[in-house]
Symmetry: C2
Subunit: 405 residues, 2 copies
């Protein structure tokens, strides 16, 4: 990787000109750098003659996001390899890749800026009636077909090896499963929330223990090739389709982590309406839509997963009475537990979400954060009693009624 | 590995002469090949002048033990690397290694033929009062210091990668967790046992399901660097010391698998006395000794493991109230469950144990096998209710009383 250098806008244009089959020879290319500049450069390159456009995502070398985490540019390789597998399994539910350049640590890919980042859509109160169907397809296919249920055990273990991704996992281990549960320096705390953390949240010994059990599962359970960061900011959406992106956290981990990330981020949006100036009618309607979506995601996931299993699982696995039910119950419980951790970290940890941080009044923001923390806590503590997604929906409704009372 | 060839006895002698620091120049070397010849060549080379001796263990290339399992000679690398780690962690509880030769797929190691293979000692009714202390040291050190509790997460993940060992794991997946639970071709079935299997054992749906859950744990839970085949035939013993050998199955797996292997093999010996011509007094006394040993192994393991944790676990882990207790309860349950699978496979599967197969009368052997299967079944089915090793001992005693009644 001796020839790595961060590209300038001009160099980015020169670079794509040499990639076959993207732009025609008479293209008049224009380039903007649209990344946040911390971890990656993101070049948007557009042909003024044809309106065709592409994205170049280039990793910055040896970024430090926290003192103890150097991020090498190898992460682009994980992203590329995971996208390739996800693309084949889901028939194109990820951005099209035109070129992966390991030396320059970049991926040239489809420009999807005509779609919406789902988080923004949810914040605007948009509804996506096909989302449950779409994301459950993505989840069920990627989770089932990369697991030991389907793959030859040797091939699966080679993939585990290929996707050992310590740097990116460390970020999750610390930011999701460790730091939010004590007064860590990395945390980003709304001063109005601090009293609740100090007087209540950080004293919850049972919660801290259960989160640590889930952390161990994250660190040891090599179940499926997961996306690893599947929040609503990693999904482009419109009324027709979704595209899942930013797969650099991909590794072999517990399958429930991706499902939980989606559910947890819908819960964060659910909680955020507490702090917003909208009518009670709108709020109730939108929240019902979100809960209905969560219910449909799990139920459609389960239906699809069972059908893949019945068709394509190893014969010795299919022969085991009751194992499919046991597997799915465990997966539901893992998903909700992991989702609880993903919900809580966004209220306390380093990286927040716009759903909540968009609430400018810090007192109101703290109210919404506490509401989200209470649901997150219940997700972790009560996960082992769950037998269906409806059990979970009831828990959320009960906490909501207490909040509203 | 282009220069690989199986050595002749003469070549084995020439080979060790060139390894520095083993034999003196005027040694008069004699060589015997003492392996069973299926998987490995084992040369015992002795200096007639000094009585010094060594072992060369050389892997045969591309062995097929069952049609679908080719065993490449790379397994020697796993054995060597695991021995090296075990040696450092346990201060010499494995045979000393004089040389590892990757090209020839061999290890030159300490000759321990003055010690006894533990299985033979147990079959002869020997007692080893220090064994619980010794093996609990081996287990607690190797399990704790290779886990995420102690290692830097990045270093641990690199080790997981280094020890991805699909070929040897496949043997365990099939022979321990799959084939014994149906009428598989690989099984090796005492005709007197067959009616019990057909009429009862193979119809136990709950057992089959729970074994499959344990199989999934074996395939996905990368918790510690385990030996992977720690039965009493992999332990040299005398009244002073133990040496653990045959580590080619080593990989990152569930920590309970090694503990369970030891306990399961003590249970196999425990069951075997049912079929043997010994006095009731001897039998009861020896069985009490075995149960006492099992109890001490776990309790000493737990004590040592907790002390390593208190001294050397990551600070963020030490800070979690109740996590150590939860971790150890889970580990006990995993160990007993895994041990149950190890017990049952030796009665039905391809590879048996001399404890039981030494019973020449096939009817009596079947009685002992059924007794072992009943304990094995209880280990799997009742593992989740266990809170202490004493709970388990009571289960064994109850089954024994029913058997004797």
């Amino acid at each position: 990787m001796g020839n790595y250098k961060p590209l300038t806008k001009r160099e980015a244009i020169e670079y794509v000109k040499q990639v076959q089959g993207i732009f025609s020879d008479n293209a008049d290319l224009e380039c903007e750098e649209i990344g946040d500049g911390n971890l990656n450069l993101v070049f948007h390159i557009c042909d003024k003659n044809s309106d065709q456009s592409i994205i170049i995502k280039q990793a910055l070398d040896h970024v430090r996001i926290v003192e103890s985490w150097p991020l090498t540019k190898e992460r682009v390789r994980f992203e590329y390899k995971a996208m390739d597998i996800q693309d084949k399994l889901t028939n194109g539910m990820v951005p099209k890749v035109y070129k992966f350049d390991e030396e320059l640590a970049l991926i040239v890919m489809e420009d999807l800026s005509d779609m919406t980042v789902m988080r923004k859509g949810l914040i605007a109160g948009e509804k996506y009636p096909h989302f449950a169907d779409q994301i459950s397809t993505f989840l069920s296919k990627t989770i089932f077909y990369t697991s030991d249920l389907y793959l030859d055990p040797k091939e699966k273990k080679e993939k585990v090896k290929e996707f050992i991704n310590p740097e990116l996992c460390k970020i999750t281990e610390d930011l999701v499963f460790t730091d939010p549960y004590y007064d860590a320096e990395t945390n980003n705390i709304n001063p109005e929330l601090r009293p609740y953390l100090e007087n209540e949240f950080w004293k919850k010994a049972e919660l801290h223990k259960e989160v640590t059990i889930l952390k161990e599962k994250f660190m040891t359970k090599a179940q499926s090739l997961i996306h690893g960061d599947l929040h609503t900011g990693s999904i482009f959406i419109n009324q027709e389709a979704i595209k899942v992106f930013d797969a650099e956290f991909a590794f072999y981990g517990p399958s429930g982590f991706d499902i939980g990330a989606v559910i947890g981020n819908l819960i964060l949006n659910y909680a955020s309406w507490t702090g917003k100036k909208v009518s009670r009618e709108f709020k109730n309607d939108y929240r019902n839509y979100l809960l209905e979506t969560i219910k449909n995601i799990w139920n459609e996931f389960e239906m699809k997963f069972r059908s893949f299993w019945d068709k394509h699982a190893h014969e010795v696995i299919k022969a085991v009475d009751g194992y499919q039910d046991a597997y799915l119950t465990q997966l539901l419980q893992d998903s909700i537990g992991m989702g609880g951790c993903k919900t809580m970290r966004r209220c306390i940890g380093l990286a927040h979400v716009e759903d909540l941080d968009g609430i400018e009044d810090l007192k109101k923001r703290a109210e919404a954060q506490i509401f989200a923390l209470k649901i997150g806590e219940a997700m972790v503590i009560r996960r082992k009693k769950l037998n269906s997604i409806e059990d979970f929906i009831k828990i959320v409704q009960k906490i909501t009624n207490q909040e509203d009372a």
